[in-house]
Amino acid sequence: MGLTGLQIFKLLPKTNCAECDFPTCMAFAMALAQGKTSLDMCPYVSDEAKEQLESAAAPPIKKVTLGTGDFTRSIGDETEIFRHDKRFFNETILAIEVKDTDDVEAKCEKFNNLKFERIGMEFVIDAVAVVNDSGDADKFKSAVETAVNKTERCLVLMTEDADAMAKALEVAADRKPLIYAATNDNYEKMVELAKEKGCPLAVKGNGLMDTAELVDKVVAAGHKDLVIDPGSREMSQTLADLTQIRRAALRRVRTFGYPSMAVTTKEDPMEENAEATVYMSNYAQLIVMKLDEKAALLPLVSWRLNLYTDPQKPIAVESGLYEVGEVNPDSPVYVTTNFSLTYFIVEGEVEASKIPAYIISVDTDGISVLTAWADNKFSGDIIAKYIKDLGLEEKVNHKKIVIPGGVAVISGKLQDESGWEVMVGPREASGIPKFARENFGK
């Protein structure tokens, strides 16, 4: 994405000298915007303007990578304000705090065991954030060393004491931890450390204006592998700051062209979970939190999965046989597709019918009943094969299957192929409770 004519024009010297072979600076700007000429043609353009024009070719938010091996995580490189416009690309890194005054070894082991299963995938917590709570540099270093040895997760090193950071990096630099944080007081030393060790650096300001100035100072000092913490610890302000940073970055304000992060403050795990959910939904690419209980983390991990799915792709449920309620060999059998919207509507209505039942979800690549039927993915022979492969004959003592009313035409073929009696259900799932009462009720 290049600059617009007006943006280029503002950077030009406005001499209208025509040495670029265009009659005016404005004409030159428009030709540049259309790629018809090159900036070298202008002898009077300033270095600053040159740099701005060149940086316009870079992506709006820089990609920043933490960690090594299986726990390499990248953030940034986002292009959207709203996920429905395209998608969000790089999942938020969830980092759990461990203080250097805690039993670091035990905590790391606990984190290693935090694993979640959802729709056939396994999720883990990405990062451990070691906090220099003691204020003692050696204690911090030994805590970081324990973390390095006990977990392969990404590391966030949290201290504003540059000497403590230097010591910790002696043992952790190879793991590419996030150095947290450069502030107005320590940024010169922190930038030196980050440059020397090749680690990403968090920049923690005090409000947006101050943060912007600090980022510019850090960049001027020569480090561009940054994560921005606007510094607010109040939820509504953090939400506002994160939003402004994303918007400005996408408007190509270079100062804010880095991934952003937040730190939770709520004490109650339920509230902290809600707080983290807000930040995650609103552009925080890394969240440091105290939450370490599975019950509080699972909803957060699930929300992250949902938020970062591609909205253009239909969401599918796993195909196969589902049981609704306490099924028995007399329970009816319904068939539908694996498009999640379709499946969950059917499941909800079957549940509402209060008659326990089986539902076969046919793999249609996640498309709806009528679309799949038109595409030959939901036909009599395909469903017959499911009946056989799922071993339905052993599970139920009847041979009846209910198909969606919209595809009544497939009933003949299905009956022939499966030898089962095909019942044509209602066109809409909302008719299932009535249908079930009339056909399967006592």
């Binding site: 617009t4 004519g5 007006l6 404005m26 428009m30 915007a33």
Partner: protein, 263 residues
Amino acid sequence: MLVIGERINGMFKDIANAIKTGDPTAVQEWAKKQEANGAAWLDINCGPASDDPVSHMKWLVEVTQEVAKAPLALDSTNYDAIEAGLEICKQPALINSVPAEWPKMERVFEMAAKYEAGVVGLAMNEQGIPKDADSRVALAMELCAAADSYGVPMEDLYIDPLVLPCNVGQDHGPEALETIRQVKTLADPPPRTTVGLSNISQGTKKRELINRTFAVMGIAMGLDTAVADADDDELMEAIACARIIMNLDIYCDSFVEVYKDRW
């Protein structure tokens, strides 16, 4: 695309008569009618016959505002008349229009900044209307730069590529459409676009058909507004439909009614 209702114009006999007699009935009826049919602005023009455009503009603004909520587009080449209108407008208005000429741009953009008004900028200058799209876009760029230098936001600038009647200026049609497309790349956020829609069909047969066909083509190219006949139901339906197809409005079964009722 949103419609700037064209009907309150001294070119029409009933409006000229209203101005002459001081009877606001015709003006107010047209204000209500256009607004009810989906006009987002009401164009106010004293007409070429007006001998006192300043006071006539003021009177038209006053009587229109008595019955209509829609913002106004003050349509005149007399900038004193426009300023008199701006002073009494209850909400930010549109200044219709300014060509890419100094010192007209200076006067108009200063006014626009002062009254927070929008400006219709014509892609023409002292030398007239350019034929090809490139020259029109170059003039649009001059308007963007001028607006920017006076602190008028790009969203308040409405570039008019100028359409000519398709029976005599037929070769201008594709150039005007191409101009609309290119204008959208000049700045970020881009300036808005507008046309005097009914010009395309001056002196032709089947005017309504030509108008609504151009409107739909313009919307596909990024046309945001047009001074047009809000009383033409088929035009309004075609616009509502084009907005759905361009994914500007969320589809619903009653999309035509929703388009007309939103104001």
